[in-house]
Point group: C2
Chain length 169, copies 2
Amino acid sequence: MDLFEALFTRRSIRKFTSEPVSDADLDKILKAAMLAPSAHNCQTWRFIVVRDAAVKAEIAKRHPYAKMAEQAPVVIVVCGDTTAEKNAGFWVQDCSAAMENLLLAARGLNIGTVWCGLHPIEDRAAIVRELLGIPGHIMPLGLAVLGHTDQPFFEADRYVASKVHYDKW
Amino acid sequence: MDLFEALFTRRSIRKFTSEPVSDADLDKILKAAMLAPSAHNCQTWRFIVVRDAAVKAEIAKRHPYAKMAEQAPVVIVVCGDTTAEKNAGFWVQDCSAAMENLLLAARGLNIGTVWCGLHPIEDRAAIVRELLGIPGHIMPLGLAVLGHTDQPFFEADRYVASKVHYDKW
């Protein structure tokens, strides 16, 4: 797929077919995620691939905006390892860039995705911390809920000229 | 350009030719940035396109890792508008995803980029806040320094199997 087709047609998909996501596709998606830039190249991202139906159902029940996780074949929890940072706090940016690569790579494989936020809402991060046994130094950033879909992808345009300033604010 | 070529060969470029970045390329890059996902679709990103040589030189002088900004044709300051948020703090993730789209779109146009961090290091964010007159509710996330380059792009592999967990940490 063309880069700009992926950039311009990626959108949040919340309905998935029952077709499984192959290990090959998942590996390619995670490879792309790990090629994001990171502060001081610390690559603080970590991933938990959840296919367990009971865990997905529990995430869907507890997270206010992740109902679709129950019927999605895969949920990937993107986390940051705070002990891998050189400068405290940059893990959020590292992991957000990795998440965006992950979503785009999935789009390139015709796999739909939606990013459901966790951090910095502590009780939302606590849902997956408890369910998945995530230790204290690992911070859950967000969920990528993904699967094949029969929903359409189409080009959006959110360009707003007033959001661009030139040479000064 | 193929999506996966862009994802797999984007890397930090710190040497630029004197060729200007066209307005058409810049618009396409910013359009891609504004198509990133954002929490509750708040699209909190804002951009300052800096071409002023004196400002770029001053950024290069004051930021410890942005010496290349002086000879780069363009520096884009990616900022978040905290008054546009529904849930406080998500602007960092919105703007990091927009930054990653920006870097990938530039790669697709054979324009080199490097992301220089500002937030959450307050005195670094203060450099551009002061130089560009950025108001208090607008948070500078980071700099995208960009330009055409004669440096090579090549495929990297940073996949680390131990960073992927399955069904539990």
